[in-house]
């Protein structure tokens, strides 16, 4: 009898404890409200630490929502003038040395962006998370001294790059501080850590990110935002295929 009472008490206490967590959806909505903007202009430095050396490149990106994006590489000399254009689910890359614009599709989407730990597929994934994943809050943990919700995302549609994702979301600023992406078999594929969270135009934003492809050797790719403008006006011509040349 005492065992049954103990079991019931345990179940009830666990249920009541889990009910203290906000829903995964509400947390992701808050993240979205905090970080999304109508437009963004970002100048960023990307440091790619591979096995031999660290390469640094600077790019300037313009985006409207999640559907349209345009990036131009400013340095180093070899990459200068390389441009990428994303329109909905299509991606083109322009190489100034060949004066050619090539559409990236099929298996090429799995290739690395400029040798970094990010793939074009990662860049292209613009669907809202809640359309692709079921979000459950599984607990609370501290990341870099900040209390975070641990949100587990499980795919609800078949064609996702990562079957599950685990996000550590700052409970106060509603910014993800760590993201881990897993394959269906549970293998950790990518880890992203986000730091230096600053308030820009009234929104909290991580100004430094380290992407690590867990299947690649090397230290990962560090992205540092040097300049961030949100909701600025961007000419429509930026998102024109003809603008790439």
């Amino acid at each position: 009898m005492r065992t049954i009472i103990f079991f019931l008490v345990s179940v009830l206490s666990l249920t009541s404890f889990s009910q203290n967590y906000p829903s995964g959806k509400s947390i992701l909505d808050k993240v979205d409200n905090n970080m999304s903007a109508k437009t963004r202009i970002i100048t960023a430095k990307m440091e790619i630490a591979d096995l031999r050396a660290t390469r640094t490149m600077v790019s300037k990106s313009y985006s409207i929502g999640d559907k349209k994006g345009y990036t131009e590489y400013l340095t180093p000399a070899r990459e200068k003038g390389t441009k990428m254009l994303k329109l909905e689910n299509q991606l083109w890359i322009y190489s100034p040395s060949t004066d050619r614009t090539i559409q990236i599709s099929g298996h090429m989407l799995r290739q690395s962006v400029m040798g970094s730990d990010m793939s074009y597929e990662d860049m292209m994934n613009d669907k809202p998370l809640l359309e692709q994943y079921k979000a459950d809050v599984t607990g609370e943990e501290t990341v870099n001294g900040r209390k975070c919700w641990v949100v587990l995302l499980t795919a609800i549609i078949p064609d996702v790059s990562y079957f599950t994702q685990k996000m550590w979301i700052d409970q106060e600023k509603f910014v993800p501080l760590k993201i881990e992406a897993f394959a269906k078999g549970g293998k950790l594929l990518k880890r992203t850590t986000l730091t230096n969270v600053q308030k820009v135009q009234g929104r909290w934003f991580p100004m430094s990110m380290v992407y690590k492809d867990m299947l690649k050797q090397g230290e990962g790719t560090k992205m540092t935002i040097q300049e961030l403008q949100m909701d600025a006006s961007i000419p429509a011509s930026y998102f024109n295929l003809g603008n790439l040349k």
Binding site: D50, L51, S95, S97, R100, I102, M108, S116
Partner: protein, 423 residues
């Protein structure tokens, strides 16, 4: 005794003619097959060495571990110094740096938009102002149209890919590949010529460009994927290559450093170990087959001949010769037959082998859809072994055949032999 046996053989043609013909034919085929197979194996091994593996290959350890993926991110950096060191340390070898790569070849239309694409495997070799690699890889015989790259930015592609992509000589194509640092690399080439290897795996999509162009395309300045080494004074010798590799690795390979250099003998490259071992042992397989087959034929010939000679054996025993002496004389006769047959067979076999070595057989038509790396013309190869190998089956088979047939002498009763003499 030898003169006595020889006179017997020469005077009684029924005793010697058939065995000599059988031995000559068998020996001739042994000699020809040894030279022919030796030639094919040696040529195939050298073709593979010249085309992809070298007699030895120097790579970084990490590249060696993942060779099948052509991991240029593990390429050898500072290749100029590495080449200088290899040439100084091993002056009796030829050293060549090459880059292999994979990618996509994209042909634009007049507006620069993709018109056709094809998956390619590529090779960057020294082409500009240098005929060595063209000769080494026998590329002249594979050139179908156009010319080899004569200036920067030119590329040769296989005829099959050329037609599939609907290209013309002089067309601009863009190589889309991965640089040494893993990022996407794009580079324009002009198609200068087409080639046909006669090997479907290569003909499906192979491109060859000058190594400096490939370096520029893949951001591999002063780097190369691999360095191939060739013995100057001999074709591939496995023991020599293994010894050299061990010596090199002892001084250069560091377990803790995946970019340290490692040397691999040709037999260490996937699939080549079996081929090399097989080529080394093929002659023994041929000898065994012919000794076995000819022994059976000569055993039977000996049995037939022995039956006919029982009268003679009876007479010889009557005048005091023992069975043992008769048996020994039979073997002595067979030894002479074997030697005579071998000399005739080797002579004829050498003539055919020499013709095959000189003229060869053009197998390009037969190899159109093959997956094997074979020379376009197969030739026999006469070596020192070719001159002597025929004696082994020639003499062994006649002696074994006689020994087996001669046993009948012991099995028969002496009285019967006398009886046959009377008959």
């Amino acid at each position: 005794m030898i003169k006595f046996l020889l006179n017997g053989l020469l005077r009684d043609k029924t005793r010697s003619l058939l065995p000599i013909i059988v031995v000559s034919l068998g020996v001739m085929m042994t000699v020809f097959l040894q030279a022919y197979m030796g030639g094919i194996f040696a040529d195939s091994i050298e073709t593979t060495a010249n085309f992809s593996s070298g007699h030895v290959k120097v790579m970084t350890q990490a590249y060696k571990e993942n060779q099948s993926q052509i991991p240029n991110d593990y390429a050898i950096m500072g290749i100029n110094d590495v080449m200088k060191k290899l040439k100084t340390t091993y002056p009796d070898m030829t050293w060549i740096d090459r880059i292999q790569f994979g990618g996509l070849l994209d042909a634009p239309d007049s507006k620069g938009v993709t018109r056709s694409q094809g998956n390619v495997m590529g090779m960057g070799i020294h082409l500009l102002g240098n005929q060595d690699e063209i000769n080494r890889m026998d590329l002249k015989s594979k050139l179908l149209t156009g010319h080899f790259p004569q200036k920067k930015g030119e590329v040769m592609i296989t005829d099959e890919l050329f037609r599939k992509m609907n290209l013309k000589l002089g067309d601009r194509v863009t190589l889309i590949s991965n640089s040494m640092y893993g990022d996407m690399a794009m580079y324009n080439f002009v198609v200068s010529g087409t080639i046909h290897f006669g090997t479907s795996a290569l003909d499906k999509g192979m491109i060859i460009a000058d190594i400096e162009d490939v370096r520029a395309a893949l951001n591999m300045e002063n780097a190369a994927g691999e360095v191939l080494g060739f013995f100057n004074d001999s074709p591939y010798v496995d023991s020599k290559a293994k010894e050299l590799s061990s010596e090199f690795n002892a001084g250069n390979t560091k377990k803790s450093d995946q970019f340290s250099l490692a040397m691999l003998p040709m037999s260490g490259i996937g699939g080549m170990d079996f081929m090399i071992a097989y080529s080394e042992n093929a002659q023994y397989i041929i000898i065994f087959i012919f000794v076995f087959a000819m022994s059976i034929v000569l055993w039977n010939a000996g049995l037939v001949g022995g039956l006919r000679r029982y009268g003679e054996f009876g007479l010889r025993m009557a005048i005091g010769e023992s069975k043992h002496e008769i048996y020994r004389s039979l073997i002595g006769e067979s030894l002479l037959v074997g030697l005579m047959g071998s000399v005739i067979g080797i002579s004829i076999g050498l003539v055919f082998s020499w013709l095959m070595q000189r003229n060869g057989i053009d197998i390009r038509g037969m190899m159109r859809n093959s997956n094997m790396m074979m020379p376009s013309i197969i030739r026999a190869q006469i070596t020192t072994t070719t001159y002597f190998i025929g004696f082994i089956p020639g003499v062994l088979s006649t002696v074994i055949g006689s020994m087996l047939a001669g046993i009948g002498v012991y099995k028969r009763q002496t009285a019967n032999l006398f009886k046959e003499l009377e008959g």
